[in-house]
């Protein structure tokens, strides 16, 4: 009786089980980056102005609002996923947009998850800027917008940290993207809504530990690269 050839023995697992592995992994990375980067970019656009507004203003209830923002950092991701699924489901307020199991719904849930840490850490950075710097900007003829820009530039390391924290939360998150995205890959092996985290979870559950490990290494590598880029941008000398 003839046994399998040596090449089949060596490459079999790859060729038979993952005939489209490169495409598969590339598409998963692409979906992960697309969802996380867009969610964090949108979150930054909202969070930083909110942090500046709250940080530079004195109003009744500021302490309560700050507490609410800080509490948001601890939102359970599966609850956020459930809430977003309700929002985009057929019966939900955004049902008409037909977003269930789409990348856009995943962006929405990641945005909700990333916004509290980005806002809270930016707020801490903004309020940590020396009051004297604000006074100087005002005394030198700056408008409120000029003063706010100076504060953001002075707080840039903290804001960069906030963006990183938001990105870290978004790209490493499993629960909500699994619920609203559905962890879908097509028959052609191209990910529709499968991210690195949901793929790792799936591959590990199915016993394909090698692939899970590779995806895990890619995830860590991506986080390191984005860290380096954001720190580089945040650290650039643009103050004043």
């Amino acid at each position: 009786m003839m046994g399998p050839g040596l090449d089949t023995v060596l490459l079999g697992p790859l060729l038979v089980e993952f005939p489209f592995e490169a495409t598969y992994v590339r598409s998963i990375i692409s979906v992960s980056l697309y969802v996380s980067l867009i969610a964090v970019a949108l979150s930054t656009l909202v969070s930083v102005p909110v942090a500046v507004l709250v940080g530079l203003s004195d109003f009744r209830g500021k302490g309560v609002l700050t507490s609410v923002i800080n509490t948001g950092m601890g939102f359970p991701s599966v609850v956020v996923g459930l809430a977003v699924l309700f929002l985009v489901s057929n019966q939900g307020p955004l049902g008409a947009l037909d977003l269930v199991f789409t990348k856009e719904a995943m962006v929405l849930s990641q945005f909700v998850l990333a916004t509290p840490p980005v806002t809270a850490i930016s707020l801490a950075a903004v309020t940590g800027v020396d009051r004297g710097v604000r006074d100087a900007a005002h005394a030198l003829g700056g408008t409120r917008v000029d003063t706010a820009l100076v504060v953001v530039k002075q707080a840039r390391y903290g804001v960069a940290t906030a963006v990183l924290a938001g990105f870290g939360r978004a790209i490493s998150e499993v629960g909500s993207v699994l619920i609203v995205g559905g962890n879908i890959a097509g028959a052609d092996g191209v990910s529709k809504t499968r991210t690195l985290t949901t793929a790792i979870q799936l591959e590990a559950r199915q016993g394909r530990y090698g692939t899970a490990m590779v995806l895990g290494a890619v995830l860590v590598g991506l986080v390191l690269v984005v860290n380096a880029v954001v720190v580089r941008l945040g650290g650039r000398g643009v103050g004043g």
Binding site: V133, D135, A136, A137, H138, A139, L140, G141, T143, G240
Partner: protein
């Protein structure tokens, strides 16, 4: 002419300034002297339109600033320069700090255009352009493009405080005295009509103090009005044309420097000047 007329300021239940009136014209130095905590900083903040008085009028060339619109107040604020007890420099180069007042006075279009040009013109490209300029017989150290006027103003202002060669240093590398001199240049760079100095030399050594005092004289000679809040009476005597004595939340005496120090009309002034009045 810049003046406070019957100005009162309170902080919560505490009265900080009560019925204070002072005036300063162009090309003169008014020293506001008084012990710590008497309200000198609040007086400067009120003149700077950073603090709104509870009563009284802040008037600039006849215009009541707080009765005018926000745009008018911004216009008034942009005629003022202020130096604080702390340098309060931005975390950036000396040049970026000193040109800040000039930048905020530009239109947004100019500012965005300048920022884009600044980003696109990398250091390597700027170096290459300078070498090219030197090759064709030009001055390789001349500033580039539309920032020429701003660069000149920055260098002139830094020159007044003896920091002309420090434009490209980062503020983190400056000593306390150098930082305060840069802060002075920053307030001078956009040629204000009135300089407000809040104990600018209280933390400085004699050499840096002398540089700042010379810069005050230069500013006065160029027609800038100066209000100097200080508890250093010797300094007030050295640099001021007129003195206002602030005691107990109000101005108890004002007049030419020599008169206030040598022949004060008020007993409290005499005691304060003699160091006999302890707060």
């Amino acid at each position: 002419m810049f003046r406070l007329e019957g100005v009162s300021v309170s902080s919560g239940a505490e009265t900080v300034l009560a019925d204070v009136s002072v005036a300063v014209g162009t090309g003169e130095v008014l020293a506001v002297i008084g012990p710590s905590g008497v309200g000198k900083t609040t007086l400067l903040d009120t003149l700077a339109l950073s603090t709104r008085p509870d009563e009284g009028v802040v008037r600039f060339d006849g215009t009541a600033a707080w009765a005018a619109g926000r745009g008018t107040r911004l216009g008034v604020r942009r005629r003022l320069g202020m130096v604080f007890q702390e340098a309060n420099l931005f975390d950036a180069s000396v040049r970026r700090n000193v040109e800040y007042g000039l930048r905020v006075r530009q239109s947004w279009r100019e500012r965005v255009g300048g920022a884009i040009r600044g980003r696109l013109l990398s250091n390597r490209l700027v170096g290459w352009l300078r070498r090219l300029r030197a090759t064709v017989g030009g001055d390789p150290t001349a500033p580039d493009g539309g920032s020429a006027g701003r660069s000149t103003a920055v260098e002139e202002a830094l020159g007044v405080v003896g920091m002309a060669d420090a434009a490209d240093r980062h503020t983190a590398s400056l000593s306390g005295g150098e930082a305060q001199r840069v802060a002075f240049a920053r307030a001078l760079a956009y040629d204000p009509d009135l300089l407000l100095l809040d104990e600018p030399t209280s933390d400085l050594d004699p050499r840096n103090t002398a540089v700042i005092e010379e810069a005050v004289a230069t500013a006065r000679d160029s027609g800038i009005g100066v209000v100097l809040a200080t508890h250093d009476m010797h300094q007030a005597e050295r640099v001021a044309d007129r003195v206002a004595v602030l005691l107990g939340n109000g101005v108890v005496e004002r007049g030419p420097t020599a008169q206030v120090f040598e022949d004060p009309a008020e007993e409290r002034t005499r005691k304060f000047v003699a160091g006999e009045l302890v707060y």
